[in-house]
Amino acid sequence: MRISLFITCYNDTLFPETGQSVVRLLERLGHEIDFPLEQTCCGQMHFNTGYQAEAMPLMRRFVETFANAEVICIPSSSCVAMVRDNYPRMAASSGDSGLMKAVDDLLPRVYELSELLVNKLGLEDVGAYYPHRVTYHASCHSLRSLHLGDLPLRLLRKVRAIDLAELKDIDQCCGFGGTFAVKNSDVSAAMLTDKLRCVENTRAEVCTAVDNSCLMHILGGLHRERAGVRTVHLAEILASTEEDGVS
């Protein structure tokens, strides 16, 4: 299958290793990856902060860039939620019937990474090997917008040599919330403290999730505390194999 990758602006800029892992994983599974260089940002930050007019050209750009894609993979549940939940409303508010139709055509082809693997490709065991103690943080958008349920955990349970530790209060927000972490940084920090306590209590060495935005926040707190816990996107765990060695 030819899979077009929307890497997201912050993965592109801040977490290139996540994108590299998605490419490695999907190619290992026998798929062809396409990365349209014209892509930039889905517009989520603008839209959610109240700059809906400024998000509009970014949506148009996304829709044009991926108009002919067979399948679009996005390794970020909050960006998938932006596309799925908000693009139809934005298109409707524009009154542009062509845009509405283009968005309608696009949505069934958009998959978050674990949706693509489990729901579209019918896989749980992707042949990964990861000899570490890992805890999984369920991001808010993955739970309550995409309703991923246990899809990421089903993938993780099939990883060889992994030692999975259950995270208490898994449905609680880590306090990131985009610009919330800056606008209400004190409340956000209090929420983060609760999350860090749960992560540290698992005695895991790695905290994973399907969103690097939450992980950037959690890692920011873990590193400030010198907790000695890393954060790693799900794609990187699934891309690891025994041949790579213990990374």
Binding site: E38, T49, G50, A181, K183, D186
Partner: protein
């Protein structure tokens, strides 16, 4: 028309109000404990209800339908209530409602009233208006009484004194009731409250109540509560004055079937409220012989006119969104500067009331969606929050501010591949003054809010797209 929501006009921004609360270890422990207990109880009784999602959909549909034909159902309610011997008054705003209520009480020669929990009366600042005219209000709902006696403010829609624990309640009672000693067992506290309140119930001849539901078909009013103090207020006085927002109306008696399953489970984690009071007008020789109801707009029709935000009026004041909200669970209700706290307050207060601090409320959320998930009438609170953020941004458009300038510049940058890639390169260089030992620990300006509590990994030297380009060029 002047819309007022309690004392919200003087409230500081959410960010500022939250600071002292975050430092109040006792308050945070109380709020954490109470929200945990209610959340667990709620989950238990919701999970046993197999048609919960269908009930939510039904409630949402009934509310949407009623709001669509609100004029019709309000007039139907007025006619039915009047026919049953009640008097219906219409109030466009808080001042008019207070004028009507004060006038009614003065007309009856009253100098005191007993009140059963009515948020709407808090919304219009009724107690202040009564006191200004020499009328003494006595709150009889246990939690409201604690707030009144402690000269405090409510911090929760259903459990207004949730931020206080037993020991604190004991101290408030001892001071206000002039008691020499009092235990802090629930029984001791309840006994003290009972003795204090019984005297009021038997003496005061005018009651003031709120309403959970107004039934258009019958002209009936429904109040649900847990203590029975409400039942006393609703049945013992000679006259009863109810104040209710116009969105409280539902079409038929039958519709209660849906709401009386959803409300107690969502609010207190009970299958049914211990006291469900329903009355229609007046009945000779039984209960209050005079019944007045004040139907309040106070900004509600303005919310109704906003297609995207009108779902706010579905709210049945269960408080489930407060208990589920990770922001509320950290700060409690006082940070919201309004009697309507938590996620519902963050969307309701700014719509009822234009003021400086209300601009901060739509941002008092990480948009985690826990509120929407538990809402029994399916208000998509995150969607309304984002809609209201858009309104804040539009209202501030003329002001020169760093955020709006950055957002507009970023939108331009993201609209073009070349400028996006140039910005990536610029970021890689510009960050170096702030990087030490491979990490960013201090950032200037607003971004310093991030580094106040969190480190930041610097941008790596190679973006994903450049890695991809390199790989593609190697293939050729």
């Amino acid at each position: 028309m002047s819309v007022r929501v309690g004392d919200a006009a003087d409230a500081p921004s959410f960010q500022r109000a939250a600071l002292p609360l975050l430092d109040d270890a006792q308050l945070r422990s109380n709020v954490r404990h109470a929200t945990n207990v209610i959340t667990l109880k709620r989950a238990g009784v919701v999970n046993e209800q197999h048609d919960w999602q269908q009930l939510r959909s039904a409630a949402s549909a009934i509310k949407a339908h009623t709001l669509r034909y609100l004029d019709h159902y309000l007039l139907q309610f007025e006619a039915a209530c009047t026919a049953a011997g009640g008097h219906v008054h219409w109030a466009a705003d808080a001042d008019e409602a207070n004028r009507i209520i004060v006038g009614l009480i003065k007309g009856m020669g009253g100098t005191e009233v007993i009140k059963v929990k009515t948020m709407t009366s808090d919304e219009i600042g009724l107690n202040k208006a009564l006191e200004a005219k020499g009328i003494e209000p006595h709150e009889t709902d246990l939690a409201d009484m604690i707030i009144q006696l402690g000269h405090d403010k409510p911090s929760h829609i259903v459990v207004p004194a949730l931020h206080k624990n037993r020991q604190q309640v004991r101290e408030i009672f001892m001071r206000a009731m002039g008691l020499k000693d009092l235990g802090d067992n629930p029984e001791d506290l309840t006994n003290a409250a009972r003795q204090y309140l019984r005297e009021k119930f038997l003496k005061v001849k005018i009651g003031v109540s709120g309403a959970n539901f107004l039934i258009a078909e019958t002209g009936g009013v429904c109040v649900v509560e847990s203590e029975g103090n409400g039942r006393m207020c609703l049945t013992l006085p000679d006259a009863l004055i109810t104040v209710a927002g116009i969105e409280k109306v539902i079409p038929t008696f039958r519709d209660l079937e849906v709401f009386l399953q959803l409300l107690p489970r969502s609010a207190t984690g009970e299958r049914m409220n211990p006291y469900n009071s329903l009355w229609t007008g007046v009945h000779a020789g039984e209960g209050p012989q005079q019944f007045h109801i004040v139907l309040l707009d106070n900004g509600r029709t303005r919310i109704l006119a906003d297609q995207e935000a009108r779902q706010t009026l579905h709210c049945i004041r269960c408080g489930a969104c407060l208990n589920a909200c990770p922001v509320y669970r950290q700060t409690g209700g006082h940070a919201y500067g309004s009697i309507y706290a938590g996620p519902i307050g963050a969307i309701l207060t700014p719509q009822l009331f234009d003021m400086e601090h209300s601009q901060s409320l739509p941002y008092a959320s990480s948009l985690c969606g826990a509120c929407f998930e538990v809402c029994p009438v399916k208000i998509n609170i995150p969607e309304v929050l984002v809609h209201l953020r858009g309104r804040v941004v539009r209202e501030q458009q003329s002001a020169v501010n760093l955020e709006s300038m950055s957002m507009r510049v970023l939108s331009r940058i993201f609209s073009n591949r070349r400028s996006f890639e140039a910005a990536q390169r610029l970021g890689q260089f510009a960050q170096w003054p702030f990087v030490s030992d491979g990490w960013i620990r201090h950032l200037p300006g607003t971004l310093g809010n991030w580094t106040a509590a969190r480190d930041l990994r610097p941008l790596p030297r190679q973006t994903f797209r450049n890695w991809w380009r390199e790989r593609e060029s190697r293939k050729q």
